[in-house]
Symmetry: C2
Subunit: 286 residues, 2 copies
Amino acid sequence: MHTTVSSATKTVTIGPDQPFCIIGERINPTGRKIFQEQLRAGDMSAVEKDVLDQVAMGATMLDVNMGAPLVDEAELLAKAVTMIQELTDLPLCIDSSVVEALEAGLDAYKGKALVNSITAEDERMELILPLVKRHGAAIIALPNDEFEIPEEPERRLELTKYIVEQATGKYGIPIEDIVIDPLAMPIGADSQMVVRTLKTIELIRDTFDLNMTLGASNVSFGMPDRHALNSVFIPMAMKAGLTSAIMDARTEKIVTAVRAADLMMGNDEWGATWIALHRAKEAAKA
Amino acid sequence: MHTTVSSATKTVTIGPDQPFCIIGERINPTGRKIFQEQLRAGDMSAVEKDVLDQVAMGATMLDVNMGAPLVDEAELLAKAVTMIQELTDLPLCIDSSVVEALEAGLDAYKGKALVNSITAEDERMELILPLVKRHGAAIIALPNDEFEIPEEPERRLELTKYIVEQATGKYGIPIEDIVIDPLAMPIGADSQMVVRTLKTIELIRDTFDLNMTLGASNVSFGMPDRHALNSVFIPMAMKAGLTSAIMDARTEKIVTAVRAADLMMGNDEWGATWIALHRAKEAAKA
């Protein structure tokens, strides 16, 4: 299945026959104290740097999250969206747990955004999906509900089915505009955590052929040599059927691993992108 | 399924619930002119270095191939096997296209070797499998015959079925001692090459639950930045069901990727091996 998103001037297609959709995770104040302070002071200079860094490394889209304590998140998200769209033509993923912020971000956005996110909770779908529908956006959906983040892949598949039924049937969202987040959690907490995520990805691919994205950096949380883990996890998830990730788009090792995996998946004909990437690196060295 | 191989004092288990079996590819004169000249002059010093390098990097087994022009391969393979078994307790993979060399190598070997290789060709099975049976060895089998190296995964599965029937039925080889090589060829020749290999691996896993190995470095032949490609291909193949590879065991990036993939596959409980590997690297730096 193909999901398209766009900025004012550029369309990106997400799908199993496309190069992997790298959604840069960086524009997010979570865990970044200095950035949080800057945002409270109205200083958006870090956002500009984050945009340019991620664009330079070849991100396909950028996630934008402005959730920090003591800020007007809605106002800030609208401001960030406007500013980022002046800096780059990459489509954006508008990311907030606050409905008013999503609305402000969508109002400011030019194009077809990806919205992050809903869950299988009726209340959250009821608040967010009409907004998504009105803006003609695409939506990331997590297969958890108010009771649990299920461990079992089969239960995650059931919740995915519920989301798809509700979003398409009740809210009129086209099925191709639903992108499932199969839930990636730290491997350090449980050795079977990634096995379950990979199994969930395969089940959703085989059952619904939906596009999927996830927060890839979560997997290595708390472990040493995180870049090495992330750059192996994403290709394995791509093999299972993952078509996108909200991920570290600033670390060459990880981005290179994704482009290598594109080649392995048959999505880089004659290795044209791979060879061009290599030449660009050689040129940068010289 | 579990395949066991052993040296005089050490047993290795290959299987989907085990850490990946890294078979060091280095002891092979193919494409190494200086090594070929040394072998012709009776100089085995390079073998010693290759053994120690691969052991130091954490190889699980070592492949031994002595096929060079103008050498007595049988004599040389027996000599190499004896010498290597004095240097390391890792089990060996005895690798030759010459039946007499395999026989000499097996005669010299102490333990249960892995023999590389047979195909679905009746003549080759008839020459080699009685030898494998007599020595109680395990065997690598390639699903190609005298007519073709099939492109289609389904045809490779058919040839695998034929090999399994012949080897178990006619020659009395236990099924767990058959390790299939699903055939990995250069991605540069055809963008769908790895897709076919990965599909073959999944089919063989799902149909027979057999262990599999392949020459992993082939995949990146002719492409730039081969280490980056190899270190992504192997984890993707592990996700598909590959349990071993004859591979570059001297490049840290590639070996690290395999151990990261072990962790992702749930075969490194609590990340104990991963964390120990990290600490060893930190200690080596300090």
